[in-house]
Symmetry: C2
């Protein structure tokens, strides 16, 4: 099977195989990514994050159905970078229970890998490209939890949707502070619960405090995903943000910056690998021993390795 | 003032200044760190993490008092890597409300910086060294929240104490999965609350599932920090772990590995800085433009930069 040709044709099997190749870092991964790269940059990428229990999965499904009814194909990547133990199970359920898998215009894939943070967001970005090249109009990155790693991952999206829920208590509310700054659109989900007005007000106040000078003020929408309430309006809000980005030239600007950061991250990774090979030998071990025994200090050790490695 | 000499004498002012130097990445930071490095490696480092609301700060204070009554001096670093907004306020309270600041054998410092994750754990490790060189017998790293970044930070500790609390609900319980594997000692705090038996049982079951073959089985202790209950026993458990590490040779092994990882992290950082300088020019911008416009792919771009930079 010619994975690249089939993938560009939108074959689910080819998409699956390409993702597996990237996930497991098989040798052919780079070649595939290199070949499909010219066909990327067309999909609109939506990142969805928020605390556990906010109903992100259900909302993602409803958003996907709404996009389907608007004639768009959708790729979904469910990512769980933080919990190596629980992750698999949660994501397993996520896939099993999903009727969307029957729809040919939808591709769903979960990713839950041990391994480095950087690796995870790099891999997510590559899976986005695979779905993009395969012709998906919309690619949704859905995170299981919320944290720095999730923030890093959704940063690769064009529009970030932050899902909140009333009445999760002060501990969870505290988390909001960190994710407020990344949201372009907010969904207060389970909006039939008590506390929705208070949460809405708090959110508005926090947005008022935001000093950043972008012309886009994040929209706060209310949804009851389980009953499909507010989903059309939510997708409209996402589309409004998309239109804003396109017309203001910020979409292009952001994507340029992301390309830049991506190349830098890849450089960093490549250098790390080079470094590991270069210093893997006994010389580095004896250097470490010297430092560990306080016969040398790490700063001088770093200097001496650098002089060997860099031009 | 000769910061290094004063610091090695244990001067609070010198410690403070040295930390500020490291935090703000002043030029003299490396020189100070290099000079004090031979005097490090003596302190025993304890990492304390757990979900918000578990009572980590109160417990840290009680543990500190217990160590003081055992004749040990203590340095405390309260770290909040994840919430740039709320962090300052929380940590401000942490310091203000603390009577320990009056004790000459205790030094408390909070760190809440924007900036990269890697940077934060690197800086925390340097502050540990400062307190170590200043003669603190025990250095406690206390995190405000729990997440991948906190996990990375407490990984630099000899003993990791994970603080849990009964009845925080399923969302928070789910977080446990990720921190279970890093705990050497667990404290079920607020153990006068309902649900303590269930949490204890759950924890034991999770530990039974743990396949790793270390001879140390994490201890689960119960505390009511606000009433100073169970703190003596908790500190005993930490000391048991310390004795285990020392006698089994694992303390030395772990510290060697940490030295290794530290040098690698520093190398990585140094190369990143070198790279940023080297590629900051217009050539890199035009390369990014080519990639962004799909006239080139990021993999080839990375290759061409590497060939310029590496020996």
């Amino acid at each position: 099977m010619d994975i690249v040709a089939e993938l560009l044709n939108g074959s689910k099997l080819a998409i699956s195989r390409a993702i597996t190749t990237v996930e497991n870092e098989y040798d052919e991964a780079t070649e595939i990514m290199q070949k499909i790269y010219p066909n990327t940059g067309k999909a609109y990428v939506i990142g969805i994050t928020g605390p556990p229990g906010a109903g992100k999965s259900t909302l993602t499904d409803k958003i996907t159905k709404e996009y389907r009814s608007r004639g768009k194909s959708v790729g979904i990547i469910a990512v769980d970078p933080s919990s190596p133990f629980s992750g698999g199970a949660i994501l397993g359920d996520r896939i099993r229970m999903n009727e969307l898998t029957m729809d040919d215009g939808v591709f769903i894939r979960s990713m839950a890998t041990r391994g480095s943070l950087g690796g995870m967001s790099r891999k997510t970005a590559e899976v986005v490209k695979i779905l993009d090249a395969a012709g998906k109009d919309i690619v949704i990155i859905e995170t299981v939890g919320v944290g720095q790693s999730e923030v890093d991952i959704v940063k690769t999206a064009d529009t970030t949707l932050v899902v909140l829920v009333p009445g999760l208590g002060d501990d969870i509310q505290a988390i909001k502070a960190g994710i407020l700054e990344i949201g372009d659109v907010f969904a207060i989900n389970k909006a039939d619960r008590e506390g929705v007005e208070r949460l809405n007000l708090e959110m508005e106040m926090m947005l008022d405090l935001d000093q950043s000078e972008t012309a886009w003020r994040p929209k706060i929408m209310r949804t009851v995903a389980s009953q499909n309430q507010g989903v059309v309006e939510l997708v409209d809000a996402i589309e409004d943000h998309s239109t804003f980005l396109t017309q203001s030239g910020m979409l292009e600007k952001h994507r340029f910056e992301r390309t830049r950061n991506e190349i830098l991250a890849m450089l960093d990774e490549a250098i790390k690998i080079y470094l590991m090979k270069k210093v893997a030998g006994s010389k580095f071990e004896s250097l470490t021993t010297e430092v560990n025994e306080r016969k040398n200090d790490p700063y001088s050790a770093v200097k001496s390795v650098l002089s060997e490695v860099l031009k």
